[in-house]
């Protein structure tokens, strides 16, 4: 299994707008490397990938000490390295160049961003991602519910249409006898009933006004897009003539795994072939989930768990290692300039928004609300739910 770990040179909060470089490897990236080594095993490869100008190669030394067998730096002179837009495009292109089954990244890179790099690179690659990853392991293929996946789009749409019609029947009949029978009515029934009682049979939101916006993608139009259940009377939902539309949408949907992207953010390649499945443990709020899904994948690791510490020897190696770093220059390979062209526009993070809204900024000098004594602190802790209510 080819595992690539995205590494960013850690930076701290800017002092006078100039980000400070920090020493060492942030916990999340360290966790990403630990998981990468585990996943790659003996036969796989772990590649540490970074993009940016040559600054501090010590991150690569750390990466090597933690199991990376290959270190690659993407170079490109005409890129704004603080711009997620261009960096993610470059990383995605480099990943295609290197080849990968799994991409691991830190869930947050030294608190610098909002953890967008992993998901945005995933979006550019057209692969799913999972955040807050605690652990990952290979899973037997039998763990995947394959039969639900291959649902034929046309059938799915038709089934859905039937479901709507069936519900419409229920509504119609319940209107007749004024009751709902034994089963609890659905909200949809209820809404329809409300609508019929008020004599207002109006579709909320027209069908026609979104035709222009439709990108013809994965959210395609197998059913009319905004059928409210409060559509007008008998004709309302019966027009769900899905066959033709489903076929039309099937053409765009069936060939790919992921939602269609608008052309200007289109991923470099749609990964249509599913690789070996992985079981990924993710923290989801107060719960721990085990999600099994096929590679290729982008995972962002959360360093909340003690992974194998750097051994003394490895730490010593880090101190003096001069890692050999391959330089990957994509400026030639990229003849049409698509990777760095301005049409690929990633969102700005709030961090980058700061430059735009400078007039309204105020610096937070000290934010802590200083309490006078311990009883006041205890009150604050109760408010935060750390301490139970006073008995």
């Amino acid at each position: 299994m080819r595992v690539v770990v995205l590494i960013q040179a850690p930076r701290g909060a800017p002092a006078d707008d100039e980000p400070r470089k920090l020493d060492g490897l942030p916990p999340c990236e360290r966790a990403a490397l630990a998981l990468a080594s585990k996943l790659a095993g003996d036969e796989g490869s772990v590649t540490a990938l970074t993009a940016g100008p040559r600054e501090d190669e010590r991150v690569f030394a750390h990466a090597r000490a933690l199991g990376a067998s290959r270190c690659v730096r993407v170079t490109e002179t005409a890129v704004d390295w603080d711009n997620l837009d261009s960096v993610s495009a470059l990383l995605a292109q480099a990943l295609e160049e290197i080849g990968f089954d799994v991409v691991l990244a830190g869930d947050r890179s030294a608190n610098w961003s909002s953890g967008m790099t992993g998901p945005v690179v995933a979006h550019r690659l057209g692969v799913p991602h999972l955040r807050c990853v605690i652990d990952v392991e290979h899973a037997p293929a039998a763990d995947l519910p394959l039969e639900t996946v291959q649902t034929d789009d046309e059938n799915a749409a038709l089934e859905h249409g039937r479901a709507f019609e069936a519900r419409q029947d229920t509504i119609d009949s319940s209107d007749d006898d004024g009751g709902f029978g034994d089963e609890e009515p659905t909200v949809a029934d209820n809404i329809a009933l409300r609508a019929s009682r008020s004599g207002e049979h109006r579709a909320v939101g027209g069908h026609d006004d979104d035709d222009d916006e439709d990108d013809g993608g994965g959210d395609g139009d197998a059913l009319s897009p905004t059928d409210t259940v409060a559509d007008d009377g008998a004709g309302g939902l019966a027009h769900v003539d899905t066959g033709e539309q489903a076929l039309a949408s099937g053409k765009t949907v069936a060939s790919m795994n992921m939602p269609t992207l608008p052309p200007d953010t289109a991923s470099l390649r749609q990964h249509t072939t599913a690789g070996p499945p992985l079981a990924v443990s993710v923290q989801h709020g107060a719960r721990l989930l085990r999600v099994t899904l096929p590679s290729p994948l982008v995972l962002t690791a959360l360093g909340c768990r003690p992974y194998e510490a750097l051994t003394t020897e490895a730490a010593a190696a880090v101190a003096q290692a001069e890692p050999s770093v391959e330089l990957l220059d994509l400026s030639d390979a990229d003849a049409d300039g698509s990777a760095t062209s301005t049409t690929l526009r990633a969102p700005k993070t709030l961090a980058s928004a700061i430059a735009d809204v400078r007039p309204s900024l105020s610096r937070i000098e000290r934010r802590a609300e200083i309490v006078a004594d311990v009883p006041a602190l205890i009150g604050k802790l109760r408010a935060l739910g750390v301490l139970g209510p006073a008995s």
Binding site: L22, C28, G115, V149, E184, M258, P259, L310, L381, V386
Partner: protein
């Protein structure tokens, strides 16, 4: 005019067969606390801007109707409209692989100026939704400008926009407060004025402040929303929730996206061996302000609070705590809701390992310690004494606490 979308994350929902054929299912769904908080925040922003507030409700099946059905709950918490999307793949938890298409569909249908996500769904979905919308993205908190800990600067030259917002805020009921001409208010006159007047008279603040943890800067939401780029925010945790009384939002059914093509199975695991730090809501940290004895009492406090104990790099180096408890570069990160930092000065490497949503409670005898710049609550006091007092409160019966206080 503008649309504000709030993603509603459901707690694990029961499904029940609806009708005899056993195929049609309905679902008893409950929105998470964080979702309702996000909805309330969205309600206030919408009232301030005169925007329409949509609650995005992805559901495996149509929700059941009852006394407190999810639609009524969402209406009561401020939604103007509920965008219902049903698909078998939309079972909680909200992951990118399962919920992205439904979210994209809602965003396509009602192009938003602002999308609010609750945690933890927002972490999964927010960045890529922002990417798709070419929006700015942040994981942050929205505070009332008037309640921010320091007064925000006067918004320069943005008064035209503000006045506009205020006008729409106080617009007469029924005059299209939502501002969306395509969606004229329904003729149900018994509920409509109630909702319009209720939402129009809620105490909407003049503006909101976004605080950026890393940059220690705050800026105004109106400034960001005045720009053409939409804004996607994942709000930290849960918080204030208010209801507006009985209400009925319109339900818009956005067509269920085609079933997710990502084959996927999700199960909940209870894996204690993964380390208590992973799911901890509170984490205690000790620094060089503590000696080995104080660390022992911190452990007791941790046991009493059910909170794991970690340490700063310096404390580990001094031998007060084991190396594998180190938080910071080369060590662990903290993702808890609350971090109690005792005697931790707050080096950048340490603070960078704390999640942006973690609220820091700092106890330090040095009032100039940098941790007070980022903490939410602080007390300038000897951390050892504070540990003893907290221990006396949290575990009054602990025999060792008396001995500890004797120190």
């Amino acid at each position: 005019m503008a649309n504000i979308l709030v993603f509603i994350e459901l707690e694990q929902a029961d499904t029940a067969p609806d009708g005899g054929d056993g195929e049609e299912r309905i679902v008893r769904a409950r929105a998470s606390e964080a979702s309702l908080h996000a909805l309330w925040v969205g309600r206030r922003v919408a009232s301030q801007l005169g925007a329409t507030l949509y609650a995005m409700l992805p559901c495996v099946a149509p929700p059941c109707y009852g006394e407190d059905d999810i639609i009524a709950v969402l209406s009561r918490h401020g939604a103007d409209k509920v965008v219902l999307t049903t698909s078998p793949s939309l079972a909680p938890p909200a992951l990118y692989a399962t919920h992205a298409e439904a979210t994209f569909a809602a965003c396509d249908r009602f192009p938003p100026q602002l999308v609010l996500f609750p945690q933890p769904a927002g972490r999964e979905l927010g960045p890529r939704v922002a990417f798709k919308l070419r929006a700015r993205y942040g994981e942050t908190e929205l505070c009332d400008a008037s309640q921010a800990s320091a007064p925000p600067p006067p918004a320069p030259a943005a008064d035209a926009g503000d006045d506009d917002a205020e006008t729409s805020l106080h617009r007469a009921p029924g005059a299209g407060a939502s501002g969306n001409g395509a969606d004229a208010p329904p003729s149900d006159t018994t509920t409509q004025p109630l909702r319009r007047s209720t939402t129009a008279t809620i105490d909407a603040p003049r503006d909101f402040v976004i605080e950026h943890d890393v940059f220690r800067r705050r800026f105004l939401l109106s400034e960001l929303l005045a720009r053409p780029q939409p804004l996607v925010l994942t709000l930290h945790g849960s918080g204030e929730v208010q209801t507006l009384g009985a209400d009925e939002a319109e339900v818009v059914v956005v067509q269920a996206p085609s079933e997710s093509a990502v084959p996927l199975s999700v199960s909940e695991v209870e894996a204690p061996e993964l380390g208590s730090l992973v799911l901890a809501k509170t984490v205690l940290g000790g620094g060089t302000g503590l000696d080995a004895d104080a660390f022992a009492r911190l452990e007791q406090l941790g046991a009493a609070l059910g909170a794991p104990v970690v340490a700063s790099e310096e404390a580990c180096a001094a031998g007060h705590a084991p190396r594998e408890r180190c938080v910071g570069f080369g060590g662990l990160c903290v993702d808890a809701d609350v971090y109690l930092a005792f005697g931790i000065a707050g080096s950048e490497e340490h603070l960078a390992a704390l999640a942006p949503h973690t609220r820091i409670v700092a106890v330090n005898s040095d009032e100039d310690a940098p941790i007070f710049e980022v903490a939410h609550v602080g007390i300038v006091s000897d951390p050892r004494a504070v540990i003893d007092e907290l221990l006396a409160t949290a575990a009054p019966d602990a025999p060792s606490s008396a001995a500890a206080e004797g120190d």
